[in-house]
Subunit: 293 residues, 4 copies
Amino acid sequence: MPRFPDYEWPAGKQSAFCFTVDVDAEMPWMWAHRDKPMSGLGALELRRFGQRVGIHRIVDLLKKFNIHGTFFVPGGIAELYPDLLPMLVENKHEIALHGYFHENAKDISDAEFTRALEQSIERFEQQTGITPKGFRSPAWEMTPYMLDEIKRLDLYDSSLMGFDHPYTVRDVTEIPVQWTTDDAVYFRYTGGGVDLWPPSPPGPILDGWLDEWSMLHRNRGMFMLTVHDWISGRAQKILMLEKLLQKVTAESTAWISKLSELADHHRAINNDIYVVDGNLSADFSNHPARKVS
Amino acid sequence: MPRFPDYEWPAGKQSAFCFTVDVDAEMPWMWAHRDKPMSGLGALELRRFGQRVGIHRIVDLLKKFNIHGTFFVPGGIAELYPDLLPMLVENKHEIALHGYFHENAKDISDAEFTRALEQSIERFEQQTGITPKGFRSPAWEMTPYMLDEIKRLDLYDSSLMGFDHPYTVRDVTEIPVQWTTDDAVYFRYTGGGVDLWPPSPPGPILDGWLDEWSMLHRNRGMFMLTVHDWISGRAQKILMLEKLLQKVTAESTAWISKLSELADHHRAINNDIYVVDGNLSADFSNHPARKVS
Amino acid sequence: MPRFPDYEWPAGKQSAFCFTVDVDAEMPWMWAHRDKPMSGLGALELRRFGQRVGIHRIVDLLKKFNIHGTFFVPGGIAELYPDLLPMLVENKHEIALHGYFHENAKDISDAEFTRALEQSIERFEQQTGITPKGFRSPAWEMTPYMLDEIKRLDLYDSSLMGFDHPYTVRDVTEIPVQWTTDDAVYFRYTGGGVDLWPPSPPGPILDGWLDEWSMLHRNRGMFMLTVHDWISGRAQKILMLEKLLQKVTAESTAWISKLSELADHHRAINNDIYVVDGNLSADFSNHPARKVS
Amino acid sequence: MPRFPDYEWPAGKQSAFCFTVDVDAEMPWMWAHRDKPMSGLGALELRRFGQRVGIHRIVDLLKKFNIHGTFFVPGGIAELYPDLLPMLVENKHEIALHGYFHENAKDISDAEFTRALEQSIERFEQQTGITPKGFRSPAWEMTPYMLDEIKRLDLYDSSLMGFDHPYTVRDVTEIPVQWTTDDAVYFRYTGGGVDLWPPSPPGPILDGWLDEWSMLHRNRGMFMLTVHDWISGRAQKILMLEKLLQKVTAESTAWISKLSELADHHRAINNDIYVVDGNLSADFSNHPARKVS
């Protein structure tokens, strides 16, 4: 617990801001039904909205502010929508990995993880000629094995929350996420009796995001926004994102960057400072404070 | 994923606004108890408020703004309250289908769906002489079979969320709904230990609806409001709806229309543009990215 | 579904406002543990706050505004805290019935309901010399049997939600409640992993209550506030209630009344208008719209 | 139920304000996995943020306002992060007990409770030379046995909610907590499908805390703030706490105190007034109001 120093940004920059999109569309729904028949169209149409409409509204919004984002795309979505990756590349956004079928880490074996990862890279290369540089785990869960694989393939990761700026875990460059700046936590709602809470109206959440950004900017941190095509492509969320970007882009010392740029920066400048081991906690079943004989 | 163009509205109109009412009253409660005895009066009285009081307050509100809505009425509610459909017709509102007993799609067979639908049409015709033109699924769930039946009977559907303007799915005209503009998501609360979240106060939800409307109007979209007699007939919700209608009706380029008018417009103007197939997702159990031997 | 006319209030009054307290303290917790041992003090101390502190703050608040409320007290709470009923009577508040052990209707037989009711009346008479005039069901659930017993004992009831002004159900005068103006829905939180949602901050709920009151007053309705000693006796809720009462008491045409006064008014003026049968729904298992052979 | 008088504070003070930190970091996660293997790093990294970053931001914030808090630290966290207790002592904060492994009272035997407590005291003494004066139960649950042990070791307790100022229960000085001024209730969110509600944005919660403080100050009460290193160390919560402290520290008659100071005050001044027995409720299975033969 030696205290970590303030993070060091490029000259003239005080903080970073990342606009990322987890382009899930209907893939989590397909994954949830991988072993049982699908009958209804409700959740499916709700999610297909993401590729029909939502993704374009998000790309338009970024164009309006002349900024570029990082889009994490499951291999299966690239397969279903072959125009998607080329369209994103043409608009100068970064494309990165997000599983093949949006597989939840707890549902698959290590070998299945590796296979999904390699098949996704292959599809990205085939559709765009570009080898992706980063990975985000579908449900933001990572294991030591997964991190080691990410390192083997020379990728950065963006799935963990151990800092609110880039760091290094098990030798992997980590560009951390945060639940409170993820749209799905607040706005995902699919009906059918499975939701545990209702979707929030956007106003209070935007206020929280603006607070988060103000304080992170003051503290030399990094704001990681994560949105989803089928969630934030809806009208009221586009308006909310517009208001957020108006605030952030007005601040010239905020570095609005793609994640691969952040990863390059981290490797060049801070390689030996923000380093943690990324081990699981030690077993304490025999600790003297625990058992009473 | 070719991009769909902006929707085309009648001359002078930039967006559409639909006021719809799912007139459920106590029918979902009766359906939930179809195979077990009912003992308490609490939820029943709460829902009967809808036909005693709520429906009149909603009709009064629409009269005050001189607009007309679309009321989806389960056949069983028309049977229990035989004055309802004639009263709605007299006030120039559209009446449309909503199952017979508010049957959830997942609880019934295809044949039971068809029988409930046909019996509802018969009751509507018997009570009003009018053949309804549209259908909304009780829990907003549709299957390919249901859509095909809707087409066979030459109805429009209003149950899916694949766009935020009219579209065509399996050859059926779809006037889409949206969870975030449905009162039940936020305000339904019946007590007895079954609710997973509390009712929201109306203010923040109204703010979200106004945001949704502003952006949909800017984007040439369609705002689909859905309320329920027993939920939004309560005082604070009438006040909230009054504030929403004050805003919307002040905008002359917003087309406030019944769903059958929207369906006619869609069939006349856009029949071959916003077309999707409405198939379930393909099975991927043998996809090379999935299994590791 | 003939439309019910506006409710008729005493001369000079446009609406009614009722301040009611369900004085539950630790009784629901004791009822929940009636068949299993209690081990922890956490929820118990949280609830005992109600009789140590909360009830006095609420009584002080009403005194400050010179208004009188109706306090529904379980017989068992009167037994545990024998100073309570006399203190309430001394302050000119109405005391009314609320079960003996805050028994949930679904947990007890008809005979147990009657016995708890009669034992509570006996305790009230013994402690105060006053025979209570009204009853509210512990979890706001009523059965036809319970209503018939309430009628046999010549009590009014305040447990159902079929109107938002007094009415008559199964020959019983009903002074209705409403979930959205009950503090427990929003603020009850006991910890220990049993809560399904967090307590709300008071601001947005107060806004909703003010909206509800404004529209009910405009519509000639009745605002039924329900608070609990151990919940609304907390500081931030007292402040919230103070703000609500400042608004309501400033309106001279709002009739702030005890429930027994409302019941007397209803019996005198409206005895034959707002009458509903209070039967359970008919069985429809053999309805022709349901089954497909 | 004799009414308790207003609490008596030191000369010139009208209320008390306590800033407490439950320094849990990853310990509850380790406890939850004490009997099953841990596989993922997600929740672990989220919580390790607390010791890497969060605790320092909280200490900095208190330094900025020149106030001192009370930090409840599980023995196991002191063991994992041996610089923590010395750093807190150096900054003049109080360090107090919080279990060894953040053991939930319902998961352990009486003997295990005592052992964890004694091992924690030993570790505190070993690392700092200081014997802690107070205890807070990990999940804010206490039993009569636990209170008796706290008394045997001459500690104060801060786990119960029977008043909103200090009191005496089973001869133990209790500095009470409150759910509504605990950050975890509103902001804890760990993902992985275990949360029952989303994290709140900070604005509405801050409003509630300011209301609570205003009214407690008016009523001569005590505001007990509880935050967690891994939750409130996040940027938007630091901003929220800054706003709260700006308000509170501007009021010179608010006594901002460590819990051991409050406990000393209570013992010196109020030892015989706010006394409750802290017994479990009596069994009522044979009460005449309950059973019907």
